[in-house]
Amino acid sequence: MFEEARLLGRTERSIALQTGRGTDIKNVVQPEPGDAGRRRYQLLLDKFGGNWRPRRPATGIYNCAGHVWASRRTAILEDDQWALILHEDGYRRLEEDEEPVPDDLVIYIDVGPQKESFLHVGRVFQLRPGVIPASRRIPWVVSKWDSFSGEVLHDPHDVPYARQGFVVRREYWTDRPMPARG
């Protein structure tokens, strides 16, 4: 099987990428989406993106993890690499009563009947005022959904996964130190 594909040889390319502790991170630079990929992206925008604000049209090279952890230079596809980065780069999950700030991360986790797995990671870029002055501010997120999508700005609740049947937990993570408790 796949004899003709094998004839193309190896076209996967990765870049030198390591965690802060020096562990190599597996990655693959993605090709461009092509006409079919751009058409698919438009279909998905039409279905899910009614309230999203586009930042960048469909592009290859990086996925969501490559966006936040590799400066848009490559895609980090495997779950275990995401966990490695969170651990070795000193990220911590925000407490319930901690408010995210710009440049923190929002991570979506599939908590369905099987083992938990990562679905998506986006970057908080802004905090908008809450409904009333005393309420918590609302983070806004910039996301690149997959290796061939564009980038959009969106409310962190406004993601496709529940509509696709996933049971999702949303977590905020930061590289900031734990605040002093008084």
Partner: protein
């Protein structure tokens, strides 16, 4: 169009692509496909022999003709879906398909290649956990057996008996 062809053509439809949505990791894609009605339909068609492995081989070969160097392979989802269909199928073709796909190093197909790798990990787990009922023709005794057990012990009328030869698998 026959039911068979329709089941397979669903995998390259816009509706299927939109239902899959945006999934960034091979494991999340595999998990979604495992639950999808399109994959279930192809699995069922295979089980009922409405389609054959040869049909699948031809289908995937025809998709690969659309591959363009330096561009995302447009039918990655369909190929990934076939990998998930074959994950639990104990045939030489399923082995060949998953291993050959997982060994490719093509950026154009990087997602479906990694889905095949995930399928292979779970395929090993499935094989290790599989329990079979063995029947001994001599005394009609049967019990559950897992391949991880090197040999099986039975207590029968003659006392403890160790069996290292499988007589029959039910």
């Amino acid at each position: 169009m026959t039911m068979t062809a329709r089941d397979l053509q669903q995998l390259v439809s816009d509706d299927f692509a939109v239902s899959v949505g945006f999934l960034s990791t091979p494991e999340s894609l595999r998990r979604f496909l495992l639950q999808s009605k399109e994959v279930a339909a192809v699995k069922e068609a295979l089980r009922q022999e409405a389609i054959t492995e040869s049909t699948l081989r031809g289908f995937v070969s025809s998709l690969l003709r659309d591959m363009r160097c330096g561009e995302r392979f447009a039918h990655q989802l369909a190929v990934a879906a076939v990998a998930v269909v074959l994950e639990t199928r104990a045939t030489d073709f399923a082995d060949e398909f998953l291993h050959d796909l997982s060994r490719l190093g093509l950026a154009e197909m990087s997602m479906c290649i990694r889905v095949a790798r995930e399928c292979l990990k779970h395929r090993v787990n499935v094989a290790q956990n599989k329990t079979k009922v063995l029947r001994l023709p001599d005394d009609g005794f049967s019990r559950a057996w897992s391949p991880s057990e090197p040999q099986i012990s039975f207590k029968c009328n003659a006392g403890q008996t160790t069996v290292s030869r499988v007589c029959e698998v039910a």
